[in-house]
Symmetry: none
DNA sequence: CGTAAAATCACCCGAAAGTATGAGTGATAA
DNA sequence: TTATCACTCATACTTTCGGGTGATTTTACG
């Protein structure tokens, strides 16, 4: 409140000056129109218009803008912004290679396909998957994938 | 709405009052220095105040509210609000029993476990899964689960 | 009532998956 | 230097999976 008042101090000064000018204009109009017929009516109309405009202007500039908050809900697909749970990955002691195997497993690849993809032997993949199952405390690849997705080490 | 504007209303009111005071001061000065007809002046002041208030009121009530769009991001937990894609299910001709098997498959259960769970023989589960693979156009259970989740017939 | 679709089960066989165990290599930390 | 660990690969063995085929029983529907 006070901060706002101080902030608009310059503006208020400006108002004061313009108001002073306006009053002088009034005085002048009064002096000029006093001689004419229906001078009072014209004078009053002029004052009415000028002050109404001033009022509008004041309201526009001194009032806080009317704001209407419109909430737009944005549904975000989790699979898009996946962040790997490195902590869990570390706690379970899952290595990089094992994670690679796990990811390919999740894509539905067979051990042979994974072996070919990673340029290693089938037995190597078997070893990796066995260790993976131990660490994830499962006994099948399908369960491994299930658990891995749930604990956030591979995307859903 | 009015509560929000109350702060600035006070400023404007204050300004209006000081303006009135100024006019009265002028009037007083005028009265003290020169003797003039003051009926017109008071009339003018009244008009000025009334129309300024009117202007303020008009501005307040006729101004369009500024709309501020606030985006609210909602992370959708797909597993919670899952709606089965019945259409696809029908198009692929997947039966109730097959769907049951598929769901248990997705949980990582072996055929034997599924058989025990559904109180049927292992061979029955094999038949179901075989037909499922045909309908889903896959050749492995992991792929079946993968596809099924993607096309929305089982929750992610 | 008859028929089609679904569900059930069986047997065989090969492929894939998983278990157990051992071992070699390279990088890194104690 | 030794020890540890990740990664690699291998052999042997068991279990599970998936394909193929065929059959019987339910269930649903016109």
């Amino acid at each position: 409140m006070f901060q706002k008042l101080f902030g608009s101090y310059k503006i208020i000064l400006l108002y004061g000056l313009s108001l002073a000018g306006l009053l002088f204009l009034m005085r002048w109009l009064e002096f000029r129109l006093l001689i004419l017929d229906h001078a009072t009516e014209l004078y009053a109309a002029a004052i009415a218009i000028i002050f109404m405009v001033l009022g509008i202007w004041l309201a526009k500039h001194l009032s806080k803008p009317k704001t209407v908050l419109v909430e737009k809900t944005v549904y975000v697909d989790q699979s898009e912004n996946f962040v790997r749970n490195e902590k869990v990955l570390d706690e379970l002691g899952i290595s990089k290679r094992e994670l690679e195997v796990l990811e390919l497993m999740a894509q539905g690849l067979s051990n042979n396909e994974i072996a070919a993809r990673l340029f290693v032997s089938l037995n190597t993949i078997k070893t990796h998957s066995s260790k993976l199952f131990e660490k994830l405390e499962v006994s099948r690849r399908t369960q491994a994938v299930e658990v891995a997705k749930r604990i956030g080490i591979i995307p859903l």
